[in-house]
Symmetry: none
Subunit: 216 residues, 4 copies
DNA sequence: TATGAATGAGAATTCATTCAT
DNA sequence: TATGAATGAATTCTCATTCAT
């Protein structure tokens, strides 16, 4: 029988991991759709097709579940960022690529924006408690600093640009447009999410950032 | 004088407009602090120093109260914006002033950012029904369009700039930094809200926008 | 001036009476539609087009208002009954007329049935307190007794019929059908309120009562 | 035996069917006593000795709870009716037995009358949605039709009697007397619920129905 | 690991009623 | 007579969470 025990244990472990993953995905969707306060543990269980009690078994409570979701969301974007290989490009190209990536990632992951929105509404208290917060620190700032330095050295970029400020600007230009498109559309009476509008936005953002960074 | 004192006190006690105003202010603070879902009608009443029932008397329910708060928030920022007298300034000055105003307004009214955040988490469903929202907000884009046109005519601004895109960018640069400073600080381990950091941000934003718009 | 005072006072009195009448009618409709528990003082005021406070001014509270409505309803049916002049008819005709009257009155005054329903759900506690209830004790029972007696004497009616029992039966045959037509229609899947169905019911009831009372 | 005791107790504690049954009974009593509007969910929970939340867990809301209570009430009376075995009796005996049963059932189950009253005050909106209601109730009319047909064939009953009309009359004669005895007693100043009065009523009703149906 | 049953503390909302004029 | 403003006590319903197996 010992031959059986190992596989069985492994299988159980696999089930457990699988269940946790399913719960996390369900929770992410629920939190994204309804915010932290509006999310319902019942619905998360239903979405996951698993018993509500199991969520508590794995994640203790709602806040810790939200924290886990957040951490996973950051982990994911950082992982994709790592594949960008910006240092292999010319400075201007690298910036353009970063802008495009940011825009497309936000566009493809509206739940990420929503989760950040929720977390900021909570003064980031889940991230503050998170021991993994440091891991989520983007290496992008360092990379961006290097890009800026190269551009400046080759004479095409202006000097004195704080990479953090620039990163916040690049992110902010996409973020605000996408995260707030509901209110913006409502108050300006213009649909910001048509294919055309989105193309225009991307062009505009590249123009703004490069118009600022490039000399002449 | 005693004849006067009594009526005044009584008026205070039973002044519909005043009560509504107090409720709106209390609700604004509560919604800003806790979001729509996290806000408590009980606490709003307590903050207002008025009976909870009165909130329902004047505003029907929580959603309509939130809507009223939102509308008032937009009303206020647009009202202040109108006093800027942007059309009386030179184009570049006007832009700089708008950026500064936006930054300072968001800085001084974090509740406004929070309310917008909440509303976007709700897909702007409270604004969709509001006809007043559109009416209030559209003039700003018109003004910005005129500024851009003037700048282009006098040869200092680049052409082909969509005023809506530019406005979204101006707002977004401030908004993301301020609305998300909690997560940003947590992630980057840098306090973005020191006096110095804030000054740097304002300078950076002006550089970005004007660097983009100005020719040369 | 004394010439003026009297008319003014009268006018006021007329207004007061009028307001009370309007309130009673509004309350009757509201109670009939929603029952005592489901009726809303707010809606009664709205229906009446008068201030809610006025209802309390005239009727003290909800229960006493309901009591007043009930008393008026009884008053009305008894008043109409008095115009029937049953004693001027032959016994069988008199019975038939009473059945018809009862049926038509209930049919034309569904609110009366509804009010009785509500009051019985309350164990008639409003009537118990009402001093006018006894006054409204129908002279019908006496009249009905006389009709039965005459019929018996002329040899057409069976003897030993308790007029109260008979009255309750006459009323019950109409009452149950009309008061419960909603549930009856739902459980038997047949619309009891078509013109045809109503005609059949009236015929049936006459057949039942006369079939019972008449000899041969 | 100790091995048995523990499971039994625990089963008692967490038996879904049992809990639902207890809630239904408690709700039936509360609704009967206070009507739909006057019933209190808190009191139902208290009567049931169960947590209020559990009521919502099993029955969604007050209306659906009321619907369930109604359906069960109909189920019960029709179930008992079925045990009467009317088709095994001679037609006249069958009618008499049905009258007696109806009378005694209403007498023994005042909550049934009260529930019907409440439902009719609500225009039967809870039954309209219930498909079970029709299924449960229709067989009775069929049975009554067969009794009438047999009586007619053997020459003792008159022809042309609509079984639905007759059923409504049988029910109505008992229903009105019992459901409205509060108002009737108040109005006529005679206690209708003494043993003697009740006996008289039963005799009277049999006389009325059989006097109508029987030839001669 | 997984689950259905159960709960206490609140949540929004309602309602009859009173206040102040 | 008439009214709009204001209230306290419920009332239905919700929700995260725990129990017991």
């Amino acid at each position: 029988m010992p031959r059986d025990i190992v596989p069985v244990v492994e299988e159980r472990q696999r089930d457990a991991d699988r269940s946790q993953g399913i719960i996390l995905a369900a929770a992410r969707d629920e939190f994204a759709e309804h915010g932290l306060g509006g999310a319902r543990m019942d619905r998360i269980a239903e979405r996951a097709g698993l018993n509500k009690r199991l969520i508590y078994y794995y994640f203790e409570d709602k806040d810790r579940l939200f924290q886990a979701v957040l951490e996973q969301a950051y982990l994911q974007i950082r992982e994709e960022e790592r594949t960008l290989n910006l240092l292999g490009l010319k400075p201007a190209e690298a910036l353009r690529r970063l802008i495009e990536f940011t825009w497309n990632y936000y566009l493809g992951h509206p739940e990420f924006l929503s989760l950040l929105n929720s977390e900021n509404l909570q003064s980031a208290r889940h991230l503050q408690d998170s021991e993994r917060a440091r891991e989520m620190n983007s290496p992008l700032i360092a990379t961006l600093g290097e890009i800026l330095e190269r551009g400046r050295k080759e004479g095409s970029f202006r000097g004195g640009v704080d990479p953090l400020q620039l990163y916040v600007s690049i992110a902010g230009l996409s973020y605000f447009y996408l995260s707030n498109h509901h209110t913006l559309s409502a108050i300006f009476g213009r649909d910001l999410m048509t294919v055309r509008a989105k193309n225009e936005r991307l062009n505009h953002m590249c123009d703004v950032i490069l118009g600022y960074v490039l000399l002449n």
